[in-house]
């Protein structure tokens, strides 16, 4: 199909052809022609956010909860610079989003025009790829290519910068199947390497699956194959923060999340395993801790679609470049054809050891007195909501780690959190993006009061589009994680880590037209949570919790996985020593 139309119309047409149904955005001078086209059609719904950062995080929430591309539309200059945090967030967490930015007309580029910024220059290091379109004839092809690049291979954010004269001018529309892209990452893994991994699987006495967000990005087939592989081999499985849900939390082989605030059994297993099978994770420093002490006696396999992830941090013995679903399919085929062998006796002893670690019950806590413990709040939230069709987003900090520890995820795409970049302010707009994609589901943003304030303006968006997002704020009047580190590392000098002059969250909710709930007594908590769930509309839940609770277990910086601080009655006096103090 080739047709003459204006650039602005092409933008809408290309998005429709790509199957986009929602765009999160904020208008401005340099995108007015596109907004005019959006006004005159009914295929795409536009969601007006209250800040461009919100648009990008909402697109991320939409993308992560659906597995589809998320789209944001913002204006030039400040619109584009406000999108930078969201782009970087999506880059580090490999989330496929398309950001369309307006730009000053081509003849004014470089003249320091009003609301001009070098958008492709600024966003070059924080996108997978970006384009400045200078000719209307190239516009449709570029948008199609951008959608392809965002979703192919390791997903990521892309940006298309469109000058205003390009939007006004008429050109020829190129249909989706116009030109084949040269960008086609390898999806099939090397069969020899896969066979090597099968041989290692057959012999391993202390094997461990270490999974990450790549499994979720690969899609439902990857999740199904992973579950089949775990069930067939009876190997234990742990996951990074980003991979939660790829294996069900109720599954027998689940060890829980690993890493800095991971579960004792998961980290001990990681340290002592003899075969580590990394599937779609990237040996992030929150997982490895000090690399010299990371899982010292294991053979390591790594399945990843991005060759640059392999041997970047940790040298592996069996590297396999490919898409998780394709590789796992081949892996299962080879394993079955070789007789479905495992070292059952060794693995059984390994489970005895793991069950011993499990019996420590590292997440144990005691709720006493009249103050709600944050762990208790999340345990109750889990108990009261797990039967629902539920999606969880989070902000960043202690509450995020507690949510990862105390909430269980049975399926992928149910857990939206800022992992790599650690963006405070991610959760509220992300919850809006999720709710736009799943209108009838229960969407809860587990937040801390400090993070929540960073993008609270998006409550206006929730009200406008009748999105019943539940903002579950664990309010300790502290920047909890900062405070915890100051306690452990900086002699309990709590520099700027308390939240003073907090708003009255109930009144704030009412000011937006939402419902506000405050709860400070453990005895009232269940009723209050049920009130939040059953209310038909957005809720801000102000849950006043213990102010000085620390998030444990914790691997202190500079320590090995088998050197964790456990929960109750932890000795924290000399937790971090020497060079460990310089690490973040």
């Amino acid at each position: 199909m080739t047709k003459a139309m204006t650039g602005a119309k092409m933008v809408v047409q290309a998005l429709v052809d790509q199957g986009v149904d929602v765009v999160f955005g904020y208008p401005g001078g340099a995108v007015l022609p596109i907004y005019d086209e959006i006004f005159q059609q009914n295929h795409i719904q536009h969601v007006l956010v209250r800040h461009e950062q919100g648009a990008v995080h909402a697109a991320e929430g939409y993308a992560r909860s659906t597995g589809k591309l998320g789209v944001a539309l913002v204006t030039s200059g400040p619109g584009a610079t406000n999108a930078v945090t969201g782009l970087t967030d999506a880059l580090l967490d490999s989330i496929p989003i398309l950001v369309l930015t307006g730009q000053v007309p081509t003849f004014m580029i470089g003249s320091d025009a009003f609301q001009e910024a070098d958008t492709v220059g600024i966003t070059r290091p924080c996108t997978k790829h970006n384009w400045l379109v200078k000719d209307t004839d190239d516009l449709a092809r570029t948008i199609h290519e951008a959608c392809h690049v965002a979703t192919a291979g390791r997903p990521g954010p892309v940006l298309v910068d469109i000058p205003k004269d390009v939007q006004f001018a008429t050109g020829t529309y190129t249909a989706k199947t116009g030109r084949r892209s040269h960008y086609n990452p390898q999806v099939k893994g090397d069969i020899n390497a896969i066979t090597d991994l099968v041989k290692a699987l057959e012999k391993a006495k202390r094997p461990l699956f270490y999974t990450g967000g790549g499994v979720i990005n690969s899609g439902d087939a990857a999740t199904q194959l992973l579950r089949e592989l775990v069930a067939a081999t009876n190997f234990p499985i742990t996951s990074t923060l980003m991979g939660l849900g790829c294996y069900p939390a109720s599954g027998d082989n689940w060890l829980g999340m690993l890493g800095m605030h991971g579960l004792y059994e998961a980290n001990m297993a990681m340290h002592d395993c003899d075969l580590m099978i990394n599937i779609g994770a990237r040996f992030d420093d929150r997982i490895t801790g000090v690399v010299e002490k990371f899982s010292p006696n294991s053979k390591k396999a790594h399945i990843d679609i991005d060759p640059s992830s392999i041997n970047k941090v940790i040298h592996v013995d069996i590297p396999i470049v490919g898409d998780i679903a394709h590789v796992l399919e081949d892996l299962l085929k080879v394993w079955k054809s070789r007789g479905r062998k495992t070292n059952a006796e060794g693995v059984s002893k390994w489970w005895d050891q793991i069950n011993e670690w499990r019996s420590i019950d590292c997440l144990k806590f005691t709720q006493t007195g009249k103050v709600i413990k944050p762990q208790y709040a999340l345990s109750r939230l889990e108990a009261l909501t797990k039967k629902y069709d539920r999606y969880i987003t989070t902000e960043v900090g202690q509450h995020q780690m507690w949510a990862a520890q105390y909430l269980g995820f049975e399926d992928p795409n149910r857990w939206m959190t800022s992992g790599g970049l650690g963006t405070m302010g991610y959760g509220t707009p992300a919850s809006i993006g999720v709710q736009m994609a799943h209108r009838d589901s229960l969407v809860i943003n587990v937040a801390g009061e400090a993070s929540w304030l960073m993008n609270m303006q998006e409550m206006g968006t929730a009200m406008q589009y009748k999105l019943p997002v539940k903002q579950f704020i664990l309010n300790n009047e502290r920047l909890g994680m900062v405070r915890q580190w100051q306690e452990l590392l900086h002699g309990e000098r709590y520099s700027s880590s308390w939240s003073e002059s907090l708003p009255d969250f109930v009144k704030l909710a009412e000011a937006f037209g939402a419902k506000g709930i405050i709860c400070s007594d453990p005895a009232d908590l269940d009723d209050a949570i049920m009130e939040m769930i059953t209310y038909d509309g957005p809720v801000i839940f102000d849950c006043l919790v213990e102010k000085h609770e620390n998030c444990f277990p914790m691997i202190p910086s500079g320590k090995a996985h088998n050197d964790m601080i456990l929960g109750e009655n932890a000795d924290t006096a000399n937790a971090i020593q020497g060079a460990g103090g310089a690490l973040v």
Binding site: V120, G121, R124, P125, K128, H129, N130, L132, V149, H182, Y183, V291, E292, F294, P296, N297, S298, K299, K300, D306, P307, S308, I310, N311, K312, I314, H315, V316, D317
Partner: protein, 186 residues
């Protein structure tokens, strides 16, 4: 402890297949990168080196296939074998990069550099400069009564050597193109 026969450079990251290649010696590699000739591609490549802290010793770039819209970037970089592997993988990840070849490891290759030298002088020094230039098969591309501009083509070592000889004879300015390299054979 030598009886254990632990390979030099073995890391504690893995107990198996300890590759002797993973050592801390810094190597110099010449990379040939074929890229889509579109705006910003060079910035992406250079930004990668700057952003991730890799070295660039020399860089040349020009369009080599006008019809196919392709340019060829030749970068000389240095790092440990692990860093070099990471550089190649990161380059391969850039969307408009079509191909990355490591000419240092992929069989024999030839490297050439072009340099222009301005040498000012009178009398014996001037005569000596021309004599040496002849030995180095340098061309005189400009001449005044008090100066020459020589053009030298060759390996970087040859150009270094020529520069050393010209310095006492009135060398005032040098410009070098950086290395262009091709693999040998078909």
């Amino acid at each position: 402890m030598s009886a254990l026969n632990i390979k030099k450079g073995a890391t504690s990251h893995s107990a198996y297949n300890l590759k002797s290649g993973y050592v801390d010696t810094v190597e110099r590699h010449t990379l040939a990168i074929l890229v889509e000739n579109e705006p910003g591609t060079l910035a992406r490549v250079i930004g990668l080196f700057a952003g991730r802290g890799y070295n660039i010793e020399s860089l040349t770039v020009a369009e080599t296939d006008h019809h196919g819209h392709l340019s060829r970037i030749t970068i000389v970089t240095s790092g440990t074998p692990q860093v070099i592997e990471q550089i190649k993988a990161q380059l391969g990840r850039i969307v408009p990069v079509h191909r990355v070849n490591d000419l240092t490891v992929e069989g024999p290759s030839v490297e050439r550099e072009l340099a222009l030298f301005k040498v000012a002088g009178k009398g014996d020094a001037r005569i000596e400069a021309v004599r040496l230039a002849d030995i180095f098969r340098a061309n005189v591309v400009d001449s005044t009564l008090e100066s020459f501009v020589f053009e030298v083509v060759g390996t970087s070592e040859k150009i270094d050597a020529f520069a050393e000889l010209m310095r006492p004879l009135g060398l005032t300015e040098v410009v070098r193109t950086g290395i262009a390299a091709l693999s040998r054979g078909t």
